[in-house]
Symmetry: C2
Subunit: 185 residues, 2 copies
DNA sequence: TGCCATTATAGGACTTGTACTATATGCTAC
DNA sequence: GTAGCATATAGTACAAGTCCTATAATGGCA
């Protein structure tokens, strides 16, 4: 489970509440690790039981009380252990690859429509990616060092880079179909 | 849910048993859609209840009886509908991206070790990808048309292409760290 | 005054998937 | 002759995540 570790990563820089964490996830790692609000709260509870985080209830006058979670030494150890240990071989489920895999069951016209849709989705994906730095800087509750920010942005670069090269691939395919290079049957 | 749709995709070409399907998944789409044996059987049962597949029990003498699943017209409709409809925006969880995201919490030496590990994993991933066509051709229970095979292989090409470009990116980063282009703190 | 948005936490029901185990048959290698 | 492997199906328990809902305070707007 790495929602726990992603949370530890953020808490290592600064203590946050569940609500804060949801905002931060949405403004940063959403594209490669979406986090459900409900799941964040449940995970924080479990992490507290494990002794990875501590809770401080912060009274607020104009707003509901917050539970501020900070990382414990045990939590820091766990984060370090996880970040420096190899991950079990990837299990990246991607339904769009399944769609492409079975594309041969349709005519070239339909495949073309499918691929154009995929390309369009990739383009909007790229746009959304490009906005992330602004989003995360706009969320002023989020504080981090320049070095950590650099590596965070680097991850987005990888995502963008990867999306761009996939898009180029798909666009090339669209051209090949248009030029009649893929036989119908 | 697209395990259902992936199964429909395979059954559209040929009827298979749960056991067959497990083999086929492992020999083809495993890298972007791993399928658990237990999950396949449960899913087939559910699909039968929905009327997407039909069961024919095939008596075998030297082996346990097989339940052969074939796609129904309803199943075909559902497959077509799904393949030609846009997917909800991707939710590709990838834990290695989380690891890179938080890499800034470590020294350049540790980051280097991390990235080299990631690069090594990508290289073995590439090797495994390259073996797939041979694997799927070796599983003689799996039958498909040349056109469908072409699109299947195309999916693998996208996977390989994407992995290669990510690997190049990571290798470039490793070089940048080695040349002292990323300040320590 | 009523309605909606924001801040804040959390439970219930459900889905999808994993890990492990059970059961059964027949073939092959040692 | 028995251990292990391939074929074949399926259940239990659990983990992780989604969707929807509940609760509660405040502030803004019409």
């Amino acid at each position: 489970m790495s929602l726990e570790h992603a949370i530890l990563g953020f808490l290592n820089a600064h203590p946050y509440s569940g609500y804060n964490l949801k905002k931060i996830f949405d403004a940063s790692v959403r594209h490669f690790w979406p986090a459900d609000q409900s799941q964040i709260y449940r995970t924080l509870t479990r992490m507290n039981e494990k002794g990875w985080v501590e809770i401080e209830v912060v009274r607020q006058e104009s707003r509901p009380d917050r539970k501020e979670y900070s990382i414990t030494p045990m939590g820091r150890d766990e984060l370090r252990r996880w970040l420096l240990s190899p991950l079990p071989p990837e299990d990246n489920r991607s339904a769009d690859m399944i769609q492409v895999f079975f594309a041969g069951q349709f005519s070239n016209n339909e495949v073309l429509a499918m691929f154009e849709r995929v390309a369009a989705q990739m383009r909007t994906g790229l746009e959304r990616y490009a906005q992330i730095p602004r989003e995360i800087e706009a969320y002023d509750e989020y504080t981090t060092s320049p070095r950590e920010f650099f590596f965070g942005m680097l991850t987005l670069d990888i995502g963008i880079h990867s999306l761009k090269s996939n898009l180029a691939f798909v666009e090339n395919l669209i051209e090949r179909i248009r030029h009649g290079e893929i036989p119908e049957n």
